[in-house]
């Protein structure tokens, strides 16, 4: 096996998995086994790629499939950022699959085959995004991801689910088609290429007053990054089953968004170019506003998943903010946030799902006393929440650390304040879950029968969040390795 | 209230608590204060600098200061009550201030 075939495999494996799942639709146990085996094999494959990137190689496969416009081909190329994203997405797919099995069965969801197929396709699309060597390839997989996740969001097929899914689809499609595609075409027009390149491809080719405009087209075009006005799809998509929410918030979708944002910042504009022109200054402010606005909104949500959704909007803007600070340090901090947030948020969503499975409770105010019945779930939740807040001994801390460092190096005090305020707010919206769960007496005489004696959720709903919570802790101590890997972004030439 | 407390120690303490005990304490306190002022006039002041050395020469300064200041403290604090005092459930329900009273009320009804 060589690097190039591993690249192809990374995209083909989940697709193959989807076919297998479809073939085994009448044998649920085998079907789930197929998902798990595929995810493990995929992860091994991605690890192999990561190792080769770490050794300084740049796996690439060019001119795969000709695009409608002459001279444009699909091309794959793996650099450290993409390698990290691929590793996270494929690694979390394993955990999420385990969880999906527990959740979907415990909830007796229908259409499980469709669910697993779409999930696999979504992972394939995420791999495509991670591995894409130019904007066009990225765009194609970006749209595939949107379409593949749509049936997942609408999974319950209730009117509410459909409405939410429609908002999801409309916002993501319209922003990408109207703005992102336009921005890509514009970039192609100016630079004659849309391939990602070290140091960017726009430097010296675009007038400095137009650079912010182009950046705006990208920033709002990448709807998955959930910047302020286009963030609405995220709360709307919360109607999906919890494993899907985890997929959206942690594994693939929003991560694909901010990953694209980082790619555009680092390899299209180039950090130096952004720094010289100050084209991203406004974006940093907007991201800062996004962080605070979404945090305040999260504070007002009583529905746990809605609270988590707004928290995601806020946390994603960390990445955009870090990138828009336009220093290598900032960009690396943004990349780090992709990893740290992924593990933190997936833990939170899986815990929220476990709580739902065990007690059918969805509101924060209804969690009183539940932790005594479900101590493992709530402990995992606390760990995930603390990681998002950025408390020490958890991975999320280093993100805060590096972003404040980057802001301080630029003497941009305002962003330090934003980070502090955001941490305070995230504490304020997460702590109630822990405090209520562990310490308040359970509500008495609530009419429904199954609320009276909730027990810990099934093993497959509890084990995965525990694993990801432990990873959050490990990431704090092993950040060195991850950081050194990410530093290759600014060392190698892709 | 003529019950005999269970503990020996309680019975000892009861002597202090009785009207006679209180009166005795008053007298002891007065005598002690007078004695202290008297002793204060004769002791050497070697551990005093600056202001400490100056006030040490004023007979009974520490006593007067202690008396006046603590009386002032109470009077000022009592006056502050008019401005600062609110009912126990002022911050309710997000406080523990009135929880005991609340519980009492609930159990009596």
């Amino acid at each position: 096996m060589n690097d190039t075939s591993a690249l192809y495999l990374a995209i083909l494996l989940p697709l193959l998995g989807a076919v297998l799942i479809a073939a085994l639709r009448n044998h649920p146990n085998l079907r789930e086994a197929a998902t798990l085996v595929t995810s493990v094999v995929l992860f091994a494959n991605v690890c192999w790629l990561v190792a080769s990137v770490a050794n300084g190689a740049t796996p690439r496969a060019e001119n795969i499939l000709p695009m409608p416009v002459s001279g444009l081909f699909l091309s794959l190329e793996l650099e450290p950022l993409g390698a990290m994203f691929a590793a996270i997405a494929s690694g979390l797919w394993i955990i999420n699959s385990l969880y999906s099995i527990g959740y979907m069965r415990a909830n007796k969801e229908k259409h499980q085959t469709r669910f697993y197929i779409c999930f696999a396709i979504a992972i394939a699309a995420a791999m495509g995004i991670a591995l894409s060597g130019d904007l066009i390839t990225l765009f194609v997989f970006y749209e595939v991801l949107t379409l593949a996740t749509y049936p997942l969001v609408a999974h319950k097929q209730t009117a509410e689910a459909k409405a939410g899914a429609r908002t999801y689809l409309l916002i993501l499609l319209s922003t990408s088609v109207f703005l992102l595609l336009f921005a890509i075409a514009w970039t192609y027009d100016i630079a004659g290429t849309v391939a990602f390149a070290q140091g960017g491809i726009l430097s010296g080719r675009i007038e400095s007053w137009l650079a912010p405009v182009l950046l705006a087209c990208f920033a709002f075009g990448i709807g998955k990054a959930a910047l302020l006005p286009v963030h609405l799809w995220l709360p709307a998509a919360m109607v999906a089953p919890t494993p899907v929410s985890a997929l959206l918030h942690a594994v693939a979708v929003v991560k694909a968004g901010v990953f694209t944002m980082l790619k555009v910042g680092v390899y299209i504009f180039g950090i130096d170019f952004l720094e010289q022109t100050g084209a991203s200054q406004w974006l940093a402010w907007l991201a800062g506003a996004s962080i605070l606005y979404a945090s305040v909104r999260a504070l007002a949500q009583d529905n746990l998943k809605a609270r988590l959704a707004y928290s995601t909007v806020s946390q994603l803007s960390y990445v955009t903010l870090a990138m828009a600070l336009a220093t290598p340090l900032g960009a690396l901090a943004g990349a780090l946030q992709i990893a740290m947030h992924a593990f933190g948020k997936i833990t939170l969503f899986m815990c929220a799902g476990a709580i739902y499975v065990a007690s059918h409770r969805t509101q924060v105010s209804g969690l009183n006393g539940l932790a005594r019945a479900m101590p493992v779930t709530f402990t995992a939740f606390a760990v995930g929440a603390l990681s998002i807040i950025g408390a020490p001994l958890l991975g999320g801390f280093w993100v805060k650390w590096e972003i404040i460092f980057a802001a301080n190096a630029l003497e941009q005090l305002v962003f330090i304040i934003v980070m502090i305020a955001s941490s305070m707010l995230s504490l304020a919206y997460f702590a109630p879950v822990i405090g209520r769960g562990f310490f308040l007496p359970p509500a008495q005489a609530s009419g429904d029968a199954d609320a009276s004696a909730p027990k810990e959720a099934p093993l497959l709903c509890v084990l995965p969040p525990s694993i990801s919570a432990i990873i959050c802790i490990i990431l704090f101590f092993q950040v060195d390795a991850l950081w050194r890997f990410l530093e290759l972004i600014f060392e190698s030439t892709p | 209230m003529n019950e005999q407390p269970r503990f020996l120690l309680s019975r000892l303490l009861q002597r202090i608590d009785s009207p006679l005990g209180v009166k005795r304490i008053c007298y002891i306190l007065l005598v002690a204060c007078g004695l202290l002022v008297a002793i204060g006039l004769f002791i050497p002041h070697h551990d005093a600098y600056g202001m400490g050395a100056i006030v040490a020469r004023i007979p009974g300064f520490y006593g007067i200061y202690g008396f006046v200041m603590s009386a002032l403290l109470v009077i000022i604090a009592k006056a502050l009550r008019r401005i600062l005092m609110r009912s126990e459930d002022y911050y309710a329900p997000r406080t523990i201030d009135n929880e005991e009273t609340q519980k009492e009320r609930n159990s009596s009804t």
């Binding site: 408390a391 001994l393 460092f405 | 329900p93």
Partner: protein
């Protein structure tokens, strides 16, 4: 190779759930501090256990005289608190106590700022569980407020540390040479935990809200950790002298009119911290020694007082001055221990407060802080008044409330007895404590003038109490709360925010409502066109078909 003591606590917290509940577990809980103590008590001073993380060198165990004194008293207090809580069967509380004690000791032994920060935050998170452990709605909300304040302190510290590292390139925790922006941030962070004036409300808010045993633990660590950090980072910073004097003064007024006796103790905690902060601000060897000694003694007698009030809360069900009285009949031993604690905090000769407070007063006078000296003298008289007399008087004597309850359980009495013994022991034999002070200063507390003047101050102030009491001037215990600066964030800010949010919302709605109606109409029309009627799946199909069509078209056009 020596193991940092905090690891014992953390390991203990991990193992704890496996230890069977009951006496076994209680024994385990009190053994952990002892084990951890053996790790450093005879260790020569120096730096141990460093680690590399993310390009920084972390020093997990730095032992010097300052750290040693604080680690020692923290360990002793952790042991006593464990004994005091022997009868507790609440696993969450036990784990939180272990972690909290451990990270507090870790924080004073941290040699660098990053490690300090990690422990600093950890104390915040671990301690809030002790507030929440009361398990009432009120305690839950109080805990939230407490947590937010502690977190704010942590974040200010974080920002300050990053600025400091960026400017100096060093993450060692030593004295901050100049007061730049970074240092101000760090000072503010310390100030919140140390309950500086206007940053202090969390303390009086949260400490009375905890459980009978939890408050004892809370009273030991957080604020003394802050005092340690100030003594390490900002010795001799003159502003601290005045901040400290203010801290020593204003709480005494509140304490006189406060009804909840545990809150009275919280105010006196604040007042005692003021003495220590003044000592740090003066910064001479004598003053710093005074701060360390006072912190040492203070931990013990404050814990003793909180223990006695905890026992009262446990047995009588309340610590409100208005509800209590005459408890000596039911709880005579607790009464005596409380009186010993009260005598210690009032700095009676032969009690521990006497041999520590006078160091700070002497230092203030020696350096010519005359006004501050008078203020501290006033505060000393005051503390006797509202704490030394008021607490035992209102709880155990005064009018008989008719409460007849059981005496505190044996473990509480034992813990109080040991603590009281230490208070008296230190008061009578101060030399062993003086020997571990950071600076070699020969100080003799028991001189004739010292003893006489202190007794004058105290007894005349007792006389004033008696006079005021007999004249009926002394404010009686009333069911009430007293406003403080926390009204800003407990009443006004929420109101202002709600109002602002409401008006903004109204404004936005009034503008967007027509727009939204219009757009909904448009979407509906589009929906009809692409098949919304038949469900979203059809719509998706349409999108797919459109895309394929476009693709085909462009291929043809090529």
């Amino acid at each position: 190779m020596s193991i940092p003591p905090f690891l014992f606590y953390l390991a203990g917290a991990l193992v704890l759930p496996l230890v069977p509940k009951g006496a076994m577990r209680s024994l385990f809980l009190s053994l952990v501090p002892v084990l951890a103590l053996t790790q450093f008590v005879v260790l020569p001073f120096g730096e141990y256990a460093s680690a590399e993380l993310f390009g920084y060198t972390l020093i997990l165990l730095r032992l010097d005289a300052l750290a040693y004194a604080f680690s020692l008293i923290f360990s002793i207090a952790a042991f006593l608190a464990a004994l005091f809580a022997w009868h507790i069967r609440d696993t969450t509380q036990q784990i939180a106590t272990l972690i909290y004690s451990g990270v507090a000791i870790g924080a004073v032994q941290a040699g660098d700022l990053i490690t300090l920060f990690c422990f600093w935050e950890a104390t915040a998170f671990a301690s809030v569980f002790l507030v929440w452990a009361r398990r009432t709605d009120g305690a839950y909300f109080t805990g939230m407020r407490y947590l937010i304040f502690q977190m704010l302190s942590g974040l200010l510290l974080l920002a300050g540390i990053i600025l400091h590292i960026n400017a100096t390139g060093s993450n060692l925790f030593v004295q901050f040479p100049d007061i730049n922006f970074a240092a101000v941030l760090i000072l503010l962070a310390f100030g919140i935990k140390c309950a500086f004036p206007l940053l202090h409300d969390w303390l009086q808010d949260a400490y009375p809200a905890s459980t009978p045993t939890g408050t004892v633990v809370l009273s030991v660590f957080t604020t003394k950790l802050a005092v340690y950090a100030l003594a390490r980072g900002f010795p001799g910073l003159e502003a601290l002298v005045y901040i400290g004097a203010l801290m020593a003064l204003f709480p005494i007024f509140y304490a006189v009119i406060e009804n909840d006796l545990r809150r009275v103790l919280a105010f006196s905690l604040n007042n005692q911290l003021g003495f220590m902060v003044v000592g740090v601000g003066i910064g001479t060897p004598l003053a710093l020694n005074g701060t360390v000694t006072h912190a040492f003694c203070h931990v013990l007698y404050k814990a003793l007082l909180f223990m006695s009030m905890g026992a009262v809360l446990l047995r009588a069900g309340t610590t409100k001055g208005s509800e209590l009285g005459g408890l000596y009949k039911s709880m005579p031993y607790t009464t005596v221990f409380c009186v010993i604690g009260a005598a210690s905090i009032s700095a009676f000769p032969l009690f521990s407060g006497f041999i520590s407070k006078s160091l700070i007063l002497s230092a203030a006078d020696k350096q010519g802080y005359t006004l501050v000296w008078f203020a501290l003298l006033f505060a000393s008289a005051g503390v006797f008044h509202y704490c030394g007399i008021k607490i035992p008087y209102f709880a155990f004597f005064a009018r008989d409330s008719g409460i007849r309850c059981r005496e505190a359980p044996w473990n509480m009495l034992l813990a109080m007895g040991l603590t009281a013994l230490l208070c008296v022991g230190i008061g009578v034999f101060p030399q062993p404590l003086y020997n571990i002070l950071p600076y070699g200063v020969s100080y003799v507390p028991y001189t004739a003038d010292h003893v006489v003047f202190q007794l004058q101050l105290l007894l005349f102030s007792a006389l004033a109490f008696m006079v005021l009491m007999s004249k009926g001037i002394y404010p009686a215990g009333l069911r009430s709360v007293n406003l403080s600066s926390d009204i800003v964030y407990r009443k006004w800010l929420p109101r202002v925010l709600l109002w602002t949010w409401g008006s903004i919302e109204q404004f936005v709605v009034s503008i967007t409502a027509p727009l939204r109606r219009e757009s909904r109409q448009i979407f509906r029309n589009i929906g009809v066109v692409i098949g919304n009627e038949h469900g979203s799946g059809v719509m998706l199909l349409w999108v797919g078909v459109l895309l394929v069509f476009l693709l085909a078209l462009t291929y043809l056009a090529r």
